[in-house]
């Protein structure tokens, strides 16, 4: 088993799993407790527009994806507030718009687009070293921001109205959170792809929530589970020769539903 580690692409995959799991653990918890799963999914699909733009401009798609995702994260909140539209409708529209823009830009890009499929469904085995560095920087930003704003993020996640009576800059903190979600989503696109991002953002946090009672513990649990899912899923896909992203998601979903069942039975007793 360990001899596979001599291949650089396998080592990179393990590092990717590790870096992505840190982000999943921290941000997934906020996505779940703030009930912004749908918004996060919208951000990930809109980021696909950024990937298309990256190809079109001939630059690394990850930078354009980050820009797109952050713009969408902040834009959705502002649009629904300023124009008075329902937030989930705006998310639905931007979701579709992002995908459409991405597909058109890729079509307009001259020549062959090499790993489009890997952005849609992810391929942890093709992550280059340069992306690992981007992910490391993103992780550092996430950890630092959350460490500094931990008590404020807890307050607005638990009861935003009360936080407002304390004169906290509630909207600013919420936009910072959405920006962090956007950064995480882009990172996860590398591992499981646009379509399957939500699995890694929600499942580890949701499973961890059942066994923990404080936000910080839930984060550690979610990060550990996320690492377990990605590495074990990767190994299973290696054994079965199935696509890694989809295998990771299948494994995580199986654990999620088993935990729900287990929890249900445990409560009945």
């Amino acid at each position: 088993m360990l001899e596979v580690l001599q291949y650089e692409f396998i080592r990179n995959a393990v590092f990717t799993a590790l870096l992505a799991s840190v982000a999943c653990g921290i941000i997934g918890v906020y996505v779940v407790v703030n009930r912004i799963v749908f918004l996060s999914d919208g951000i990930s699909h809109a980021a696909f527009g950024g990937i298309g733009l990256g190809y079109f401009l001939g630059s690394n798609p990850i930078y354009a994806a980050i820009t797109f995702a952050v713009a969408v994260a902040v834009g959705v909140g502002a649009t629904s507030k300023k124009l008075g539209a329902r937030e989930d409708t705006v998310i639905g529209v931007i979701w579709a718009l992002g995908m459409a823009v991405g597909i058109i830009l890729i079509k307009l890009t001259p020549g062959y687009v090499p790993d489009l499929f890997s952005y849609l469904f992810g391929n942890i085995l093709t992550v280059p070293r340069s992306d690992l560095i981007v992910m490391l920087v993103l992780d550092l930003i996430l950890v630092l921001t959350v460490a500094l704003l931990f008590k404020e993020l807890l307050a607005i996640s638990f009861d935003r109205e009360f936080a407002q009576t304390l004169r906290l800059p509630v909207n600013l903190i919420y936009y910072i959170l959405l920006t962090l979600v956007a950064l995480t989503v882009v990172m996860l696109i590398r591992v499981v792809g646009v379509i399957l991002v939500m699995a890694l953002l929600t499942i580890p946090a949701a499973v961890s929530e059942i066994f923990t009672k404080r936000l910080i513990h839930m984060m550690f649990g979610a990060a550990a589970l996320s690492l377990l899912f990605t590495l074990l899923g990767l190994w299973l896909s290696y054994l079965t020769n199935l696509p890694s992203g989809a295998t990771i998601v299948l494994l995580a979903s199986a654990v999620y539903f088993s935990t729900l069942l287990y929890n249900r039975c445990a409560k009945r007793k």
Partner: protein, 250 residues
């Protein structure tokens, strides 16, 4: 002459074009204990939110200790109505009460020892220090309500706003709760929205009736006219000592 804690002048609130509050004038003195009653949908929660600075009135002005509510620092302790709570939220009672200590000046700093002392003090006040490390979702509705009161007390407010605080507190604790509020009033001004008329008549200093308009004569008396106006139907208030009884006339 005591200070004015709350001064509301000609406040109206419209949601879209629906009028919820109309021409409200209200002066609350420092260390007053004011009860607000009125029919459901009469705007009680809206008025409390206007005072807390959560809602900007369409017309009129609101001042809390001489300043607009969103400018007054650390003055308001808000206890919201117990809404559908997220029972699985991963926080302990202690985590929740500590959030009462947050403000603009301790952004990105850790909680201080003084913060922890104040939070513990507040928990003791509602007799929940024993449940400090319990997850918030494990508590009963009444206990959770007391946690929210502790959280508001932890801010060390000069104005305490309570929205239906006894709705889910069980009967046995009810009396204790009101007596506790009564003690607090030496330290702060209290405005409480409630349906519990018997408790109001026993503990509060002043009562106002709210149904879009506010009926208030700066006393504990609710006149027949106030009831008529507020509830839009003839009612009789029969007092057999305490508690008061309100019986509809048919």
């Amino acid at each position: 002459m005591p200070n004015l804690a709350v001064e509301i002048e000609e406040v109206s609130v419209y949601f879209n074009s629906k009028c919820v509050l109309e021409g409200i004038n209200l002066k609350v003195l420092e260390n007053d204990f004011l009860g607000i009653i009125g029919p459901n949908g009469g705007g009680k929660t809206t008025l409390l939110k206007v005072i807390a600075g959560l809602l900007k009135p369409t017309k009129g002005s609101v001042k809390v200790y001489g300043k607009p509510p969103h400018k007054s620092e650390k003055l308001i302790g808000y206890v919201p109505q117990l809404n559908q709570p997220d029972l699985s939220f991963p926080a302990t009672v202690w985590d929740v009460v500590l959030t009462g200590r947050l403000n603009r000046s301790n952004l990105i700093k850790p909680y201080s020892e003084a913060d922890k002392r104040a939070a513990l003090e507040a928990l003791k006040a509602v007799e929940l220090e024993g449940l400090k490390d319990e997850p918030i979702g494990k508590l009963s509705g009444g206990q959770r309500q007391r946690v929210f009161i502790a959280r508001a007390l932890a801010t060390e407010p000069k104005l305490l706003l309570l929205d239906e605080p006894t709705l889910s507190v069980d009967r046995r604790l009810d009396t204790k709760f009101w007596e506790y509020l009564n003690e607090l009033k030496s330290r702060m001004t209290i405005i409480v929205v409630t349906h519990d008329i018997s408790a109001l008549s026993k503990y509060v200093d002043k009562i106002a009736c709210l149904n879009k308009k506010l009926y208030y004569n700066e006393s504990k008396q609710i006149t027949r006219e106030m009831w008529m106006e507020a509830y839009q139907c003839p009612v009789d208030i029969i007092a057999h000592g305490l508690p008061h009884r309100v019986v509809e006339e048919h």
